[in-house]
């Protein structure tokens, strides 16, 4: 049977990909970020998951507001890299796990989570900006991904409680898959940032650190908050951290955080944490 071996929470800021692609590993402005991901990369190398289940959002790259899904699951064997306005990143296409995806789709709908399904859709930085920091892409990816795209950019967003419940349903879905697979959950987004409006440039490190504690010890409390609470505390765009709740919901209630890094250089607080 498939087994969830742990989880990762991570920011998905596009400049993380920019720093990686431009080789800024030793640049003093970026070194604290790269160092924070080194421990995540070694955890993945040691645990060797077959599949990373990614909860992330598309940034109006592949999906558009003519039909914007709330929860959409990818069921392809392969996903191209999206062109976000300056050509796709030069990394290999992502390898999917279609059979696992199809099983999860059926299991979620059976559990009354009526998700959308997509195939053959390119994936954007929401997934691969953190991915290249933790998984080698050369000569090819060491494993497969299953992408879950979540609407966090057009209100109304799914409730935090719904995200947490979806995570629990995902645990049942994944752990009922008959093949022996090791799966790690990844929840992306945040932490505090606001890109637009009167509060453009807003951050709150105190809230970010509280969130990083609560996601480990008391995710129910986060799940009980409203989207408005998340926007007030972490900025309009910072509310996307509800995607960490999907990851956390899929882990054992007593999962513990074994690594954390926090770096706030510019407009978005960049955090990464590992749970097992």
């Amino acid at each position: 049977m498939a087994k969830i071996i742990g989880g990762i929470g991570t920011s998905h800021v596009p400049t993380i990909a920019m720093a990686f692609d431009k080789g800024k590993r030793e640049d003093p402005d970026w070194k604290p970020l790269f160092q924070g991901y080194a421990r995540v990369a070694s955890w993945l190398e040691e645990k060797r998951p077959d599949v990373l289940f990614f909860c992330f959002n598309d940034h109006a790259s592949s999906f558009f507001f003519d039909h914007y899904p709330t929860f959409a699951l990818g069921v392809s064997e392969q996903y191209a890299i999206a062109d976000e306005g300056s050509g796709p990143r030069r990394i290999p296409p992502l390898k999917g796990h279609a059979a696992l995806s199809r099983h999860i789709a059926r299991s979620l709908v059976d559990a009354e989570f009526d998700i959308s399904i997509f195939q053959d859709v390119p994936l954007d930085h929401g997934l691969h900006s953190p991915l290249t920091m933790m998984w080698p892409s050369q000569p090819d990816w060491p494993g497969r991904v299953v992408p879950l795209v979540v609407n966090v950019i057009q209100q109304p967003l799914p409730k935090p409680s719904r995200c947490f419940a979806l995570g629990k349903a995902l645990r049942r879905a994944i752990e009922s898959y008959p093949e022996d697979l090791k799966v790690a959950m990844v929840g992306t987004g945040g932490l505090s940032h606001q890109m637009i409006g009167d509060r453009a440039g807003f951050n709150d490190e105190r809230w970010d650190r509280e969130f990083l504690e609560l996601i480990e010890r008391d995710p129910e409390r986060l799940a009980g908050m409203s989207i408005e609470d998340f926007m007030r505390l972490g900025g309009n765009e910072g509310a996307e951290i509800i995607m960490w709740l999907i990851m956390r919901g899929a882990l054992a209630p007593n999962a513990r955080k074994i690594h954390q890094n926090y770096y706030l250089p510019m407009t978005t607080a960049m955090a990464v944490a590992v749970f097992e």
Binding site: Q154, M195, I196, L264
Partner: protein
Amino acid sequence: MSYVFDLERSARGLRLNRFLHGLTVADKRKLFLESPEEAMKGLTEEERQMVRRLDWKAMQDHGASFFCLEKLARAKGVTNPEMVAAFRGETLEQFLKTRRVPGAR
């Protein structure tokens, strides 16, 4: 809570957002960079003005999604800190003074 991208804002900005989103397609982007007026034919004159001037704040107020604006910014080689500075009514230099690591961009 202001500037929330809700369904009202999305409806208001749909035409402009569709144009901005279209810049993810290499052919449409090439047309825009080489013959912008041709590429912007489907927009209103008011919208064309905003795009010509790269007036980020005006586009935002008109209903553009930040994530669609990013497509125009990438096509024109503009960074996110430059856009955020514009939303704040600051120059890039002023905005960078408020940041912990101004070189991280």
